[in-house]
């Protein structure tokens, strides 16, 4: 793996924000702050497909048998007032383009209320709560290291820079087994959302993009050719390009603490004709997401998510429909958690440039065993396989089919 340290001014700003935030943490009463962290160190045994991070067409994060830092994050929750808290997650990644920065930084307003239907809101830079997979601190998955195709994409390319409002009704206070929440959000930024799944296709990893991050992909000739599409071989996914507001709306429904459903409709409302000086385009991306979790008993749960949508850039220079789903079974026995997930993902194009081939599809199988040695230490091993096809590999004289596999051995320390 190539370790890059191209610190720019945006990284410097992120570091300064990081210092400011944790200084605030030290200055407010100690009891009112919650600071925690997670560090994961990995040993990887991988296949030879060059990772998208290194401008290859492989869909995994690692492409070298090596040892390194999988995750290093600090998360904090600072109470600024009785009803207002500040949530932040700061990361260090040795790979990718932005090494230090935030994946989330938001204020949450959740007033106490005697009413059966309550209100809450948050504003800042945060994830829409589409996923029932990423429920550990720092939006990590407690189940597998290599995340589902859907949430790998959410982690690398999607973030809400805006305001989210919810009305919700906890069932138990109504003497009902059913709880619900309705969500509406408006946001800026995230106009290039869709770039990665259109050209590279879905990937499978746990590298979350940071606040000003850049994600590389292969230099497909039709993409980078200045006489053709003329787009760089990377995307900076969180840019605001067209001054339009995006929105999403969601519904959460849960039965006791046993079953959960989440439905979201998302539309970034980007203008697909907008392009900036880097030649990054607006991608009009819309999708439906449906998540489901059911606890079969205290130790075993099923988790699933389905996403279907489309994205368009330019005058239909690229237009794709995308669909992905996964089904995961996770079982915990005392200190051990074993999780098995099957992923399916596909991208189908219908655009004006047949030579810019955007069809891709694949499936993945991920099996992880994680063992809690104590409250702080965890050991885990994961075996991942995927078979994926991307038509545009032909542009790079590569076989369009890839069989990828990766074994990860991970030691985790949390506090």
């Amino acid at each position: 793996m190539i370790v890059k340290h191209n610190f720019n001014y945006k990284t410097l700003i992120a570091i300064l924000m990081f210092i400011l935030l944790f200084s605030l943490n030290l200055l407010t009463p100690a009891a009112a702050n919650q600071v925690g962290g997670i560090v994961q160190v990995y040993i990887a045994d991988t296949d030879s497909w060059q990772s998208y991070q290194n401008n290859g067409t492989g869909i995994l994060r690692h492409d070298d048998d090596t040892v390194g830092i999988q995750q290093a994050l600090l998360h904090t929750n600072i109470d600024l007032a009785s009803n207002v808290s500040l949530n932040a997650v700061a990361h260090y990644y040795p790979d990718g383009e932005q090494q230090v920065g935030f994946s989330q930084l938001s204020l949450q307003y959740k007033p106490l209320s005697p009413n059966k239907i309550k209100f809450k809101a948050r504003g800042g830079f945060f994830y829409p709560r589409l996923s029932l997979e990423n429920v550990d601190d720092g939006w990590l998955s407690p189940y597998t290291y290599t995340q589902s195709a859907i949430n790998s994409w959410v982690g690398e390319e999607m973030r809400t820079l805006g305001l989210e409002f919810s009305i919700y009704s906890p069932g138990r206070a109504r003497r009902s087994p059913w709880s619900w929440e309705m969500i509406g959000a408006a946001f800026k930024g995230n106009d290039p959302l869709g770039t990665l799944i259109s050209w590279r296709g879905f990937a499978m990893h746990d590298r979350q993009s940071l606040n000003n991050d850049r994600v590389n992909f292969a230099p497909y000739p039709t993409v980078i050719d200045t006489d053709f599409i003329w787009h760089p071989d990377y995307v900076e996914p969180f840019h605001e390009l067209d001054r339009r507001w995006g929105f999403y709306t969601g519904l959460h429904l849960s039965y006791f603490n046993q079953s959960s459903f989440r439905y979201y409709y998302y539309d970034n409302q980007a203008d697909p004709l907008t392009v900036n000086s880097q030649r990054l385009y607006g991608w009009r991306t819309k999708f439906h997401s449906l998540s489901f979790q059911h606890k079969l008993n205290s130790n075993t749960r099923l988790i699933s998510q389905l996403m279907t949508g489309s994205t368009v850039m330019g005058v239909k220079f690229v237009y794709v429909d995308f669909d992905a789903w996964y089904l995961m079974l996770s079982h915990q026995v005392s200190q051990h958690r074993i999780s098995l997930r099957y992923d399916r993902f596909m991208v189908i194009e219908d655009d004006v440039f047949p030579t810019d081939m955007n069809n891709s599809d694949g499936y993945g199988l991920t099996l992880a065993w994680r063992y809690d040695l104590d409250d702080n230490w965890q050991l885990g091993i994961e075996q991942h396989f995927n078979k994926n096809t991307a038509q545009n590999r032909a542009q790079l004289d590569l076989p369009i089919d890839a069989n990828q596999q990766q074994t990860l051995l991970v030691a985790q320390f949390r506090w």
Binding site: Q34, V135, Y168, R175, F256, N257
Partner: protein
Amino acid sequence: MKCIYKIFWFSSAFICFNALAIPVTVDVFSNTDKPVFQTVVYLEPEGDVEITQEHQDIAVMDQVDRQFMPHILPVQKGNKVVFPNSDSIKHHVYSFSPAKQFELKLYKDSDAAPLPFENQGEVELGCNVHDWMLAYIWVVDTPFFAKTDQSGKVTIDVPKGHYSVKIWHPRIQDDLDALTQKVSIEAPTSMSFKLQEKLLQDLSFYEQRADKLTDY
């Protein structure tokens, strides 16, 4: 400190106030003759009872595995309740009940001062971080109270005298005043309550499937 609290909590059910205490055994049955677990049973003295000692304990409402522990806590009016946090995450306990309104942020390893409960009646507790958490403190104006066990039975030792025997449970729909029984305790006594109305839905399943992997 937590151990001491627990000792207090357990001891409060067995405190003997008078050397001549007489056991009163109470059974509580639903309208379908099922025992009603965790019903608060309390005996209010009618004036001729000499109370030589008041409860001075601090009762405990702990937060364990993102649940209140216990779900129902009876305390005597004027006594205090302490809210420790046995979890490693933040809780934000609150009540809007007329008998006691408060909010308390409980951080990891927090050591919040005990709160006095000065008014009789129901205090419904919630947590503003974990919306499924719910518990009740039932404040009684007598030192003679306890909760029924799994078989719906409880035994309370009281001095000789006249009492109003009352019960309370959040699932009971019967008129509580109509359920009150007046008794004269001269010797060991057994009595029972039979509810007429159907119990409200049992929601304890919320506690059986709660875990820390819930949201972000």
